[in-house]
Point group: C2
Chain length 354, copies 2
C-alpha cells in the first residue's frame, strides 16, 4: 500500500506493549492502527507470543512492526525505585533503552508513572543544561484566546516535588516549544501559576521566577495566573512546581467525579433532573475529557533528548494510536532539537548575566 | 419580644458595616435580621447616618444594635500594608480593635481579605503558642463519611504562603475544633493534602508533618489525601500550605465558571442542550455553591483569641446574618478557649519531646 507522504517514513517509536490497564491487547491494537494510518515504524516490546496473537487478528502493516520479546513487565504494585534491579528486562525499561541507544526516536507507555519517570531518567540522556525533567498534562480550556484548538499545557504535574526559579524557566521554554508544535501556534503564551497577579506574589522562588521569565527574549510571558484562570485558556502553557501541579490536576479530576456523583444523586431525586442529565450527557462527557489526557495523545515527559509520551493507564487502542502519532510528529518537527538549541541559548544568556 | 434562650444573650459581635461589594446596605440588613432571629448583640461600625437610614427601614431590635461612627473605610484598591497608617479609623480596623480590647467577642467583615488579615493580626491577640493564623474555607462535599451535614474545612487558603510542619499541626488542631463545633461532630477526621498516600510523599516538610500529625493523641488523623479526594468528604478537615490551598480553592472556582461557560456555548449550539440546562439549572447552582462560602457562614480566620469571620465580598444580607450567627455560636461554645487549651497541651507534649 502506498501512503501519502506524512514525513514519518523514517520514524521509529518504541511502544511498551505490556504497560497499562488494558495491556497488551489495547496497546498492540493501537500500534497496529498507527501502522495503517501512517508510515510510522513501531517496535513493540513485550510478550512475543501474546503480541503476535493480537496482531494476527488485527489489521496492520507488518513491514512497520518489529517485536522485541521480554517476559518481564512492571506492575502497578512494583515499587518504582526497585524496578531497575529487580526487573532489568522489563518491557518499559527496554523501550526506554531503545531510545537511549538511538534505536528509537521516541517511546510510548501507559504503565506505572513513577516507574516511567525512573526508567527514562536512567536510560535516556537529558537535553544539555536541563536540570529536571517535567511531566506536562494537555487539557482543553475555554479557549479565551480564540486558538484553532483549545488545548493548553500544564507542567510540572509531578515528576518533581519542588524546584528552583531556573527550573521553572526551563519548564516554560520546553512547554512553549512542545505547545507550539502540537497546537500549531507560533508564539504560545506562557503564564506562571501563582496566588495573585502581582510580580511580588507567592514568596521568593515564585517572584524570582517571574522576573526571570519576564527577561526571556524568546518567551511570550503573560505574567501570573491564579487557579480560577487555569481552565480559561488565557495561556497556552502554565508552569508550576510538581507538588502544586499534581494537586491541581487531581482536584480537577475529583470535580469530574463529583459531577458524576451529583448526577447519580439527582437521578434518584427528580425526574426533571433525569431528563436534564440525558440531554446534557454529551456535555458532561466533554467535562470528563478535561481530565482524560489519553484523548489528546498523552502527557509528554519533557527534558529528554528523545520524545517520551505517558499515555493514561486506562488508555484504549485509539488513545495509544494518538500517542504514537504525537510522538512521531514531535520527532519529525524536531521538537527535542529545538529545545536543545533554545536551552543552550538561554544558558548562554543566563551565564553571561550571573 | 421574649426570645427562646439560644445562649447568645450576652454575645457581642462587631460588624464592619462598610466592607463588601454591597455595603453598607446588605451588611446592615443582615445584622438587622440577626437581631430579630437571635438574641445576639451587634456593634455596627461605619457611617452612622447611612447605617441609621438603612435600619430605619428594616425590621430589627434596637436594643441589640449599637453603632460606632467612622467615615473611613477600606477599598479593594487600598494596598493592605499601608492601611493601618493611612486609615487609622477604617471601619474594619475599629471592629478588629473592639475584639482586641475585649469589647466584642468576635467580628464579621466582607471587606478586602488582605487588609482583613493585616488588621486582625495587628489588633487581636493570637492564641498562646500559635505561630501563624490561617484562613479556612468551608465547602460542601460528597459526604462519603455520611455526616449529618456534608461540609468540610480546608485550611490554610492564603493567610500565609509557606509554613512549617508544626504550623500544619497547629492548623489541624484549630481546624478540628472549629469543624467539631460547626458540624456537631465529636471527633472530626483530619487529612493532609499531598501528592500520594504514602507517609514519605511530598518532600521533607510534608512527611515530617505526617509523622507529627500521626503522633497527636487528640487528633483523628486519617493520613494523606490527594487532590481528587478533596470533594469526597473523607476528611472533615484538610490541612495544607496557604500557597497550595489558595490555588486549589481558586481552581474549583474556575471550574464552576467553566461549567457556566460550557452552558452558554451549548445554548448557542443545540436546542436539546438548552432543555438540559434548564432542567439542570438547580444542579449547576448547587455546584456553584461549592465555591460560595457565604452560604455557609463565611471563612474563619483561626488562631486569634476572638472569633473572626470573613464573609464573601459578594455577600448579601442572608450571608451576613449567617456569618454573625456562626461567630456568636462559636463564642458561646468557647471554640477559642478550647483551642487555647488544646494548643497548650500540644506545646507541652511537643516541648517535652524536643
Amino acid at each position: 500500500m502506498i501512503k501519502p507522504d506524512d514525513g514519518l517514513l523514517n520514524t521509529i517509536i518504541a511502544v511498551d506493549a505490556m504497560g497499562g490497564d488494558f495491556a497488551p491487547d489495547e496497546i498492540v491494537l493501537g500500534a497496529a492502527r498507527a501502522t495503517i494510518e501512517t508510515s510510522i515504524n513501531t517496535i513493540l516490546v513485550g510478550d512475543k507470543s501474546r503480541i503476535t496473537a493480537i496482531l494476527d487478528k488485527a489489521d496492520h502493516n507488518p513491514h512497520q512492526v518489529e517485536i522485541i520479546h521480554t517476559d518481564q513487565l512492571i506492575l502497578n504494585s512494583d515499587e518504582p525505585k526497585r524496578i531497575i534491579h529487580k526487573k532489568p528486562r522489563a518491557s518499559m525499561l527496554i523501550a526506554a533503552q531503545l531510545c537511549g541507544y538511538g534505536q528509537a526516536d521516541g517511546m510510548v507507555s501507559a504503565g506505572n508513572t513513577g516507574a516511567y519517570i525512573l526508567t527514562t531518567v536512567k536510560s535516556i540522556p537529558r537535553i544539555k543544561g536541563i536540570h529536571k525533567t517535567a511531566i506536562a498534562t494537555v487539557y482543553p480550556t475555554r479557549n479565551e484566546q480564540g486558538r484553532r484548538d483549545p488545548f493548553a499545557l500544564l507542567l510540572d504535574i509531578g515528576a518533581n516535588i519542588h524546584c528552583s526559579a531556573e527550573d521553572l524557566v526551563q519548564f516554560a521554554i520546553m512547554g512553549k516549544i512542545y505547545a507550539s508544535d502540537i497546537k500549531g501556534v507560533k508564539d504560545p503564551t506562557v503564564a506562571l501559576l501563582n496566588i495573585g497577579k502581582e510580580a511580588y506574589k507567592g514568596g521568593d522562588m515564585l517572584s524570582q521566577a517571574y522576573e526571570m521569565l519576564k527577561m526571556q527574549n524568546n518567551l511570550n510571558f503573560i505574567g501570573n495566573i491564579e487557579g480560577n484562570e487555569i481552565l480559561k485558556g488565557l495561556a497556552d502553557v502554565v508552569v508550576t512546581e510538581g507538588y502544586v501541579g499534581n494537586i491541581v490536576m487531581k482536584t480537577v479530576e475529583g470535580i469530574a467525579e463529583t459531577l458524576s456523583g451529583l448526577g447519580r444523586d439527582a437521578f434518584k431525586r427528580r425526574f426533571i433532573w433525569m431528563l436534564g442529565l440525558l440531554a446534557l450527557s454529551s456535555g458532561i462527557k466533554q467535562l470528563k475529557q478535561v481530565t482524560d489526557y489519553s484523548a489528546y495523545g498523552g502527557a509528554p515527559l519533557l527534558g529528554f533528548q528523545k520524545i517520551v509520551i505517558k499515555a493514561h493507564g486506562r488508555s484504549r487502542a485509539k488513545a495509544i494510536t494518538n500517542a504514537i502519532k504525537v510522538a512521531a510528529k514531535s520527532y519529525r518537527d524536531d521538537v527535542c532539537g529545538t529545545m536543545t538549541r533554545e536551552i543552550a541559548q538561554y544558558r548562554k544568556q543566563f551565564l553571561s548575566k550571573n
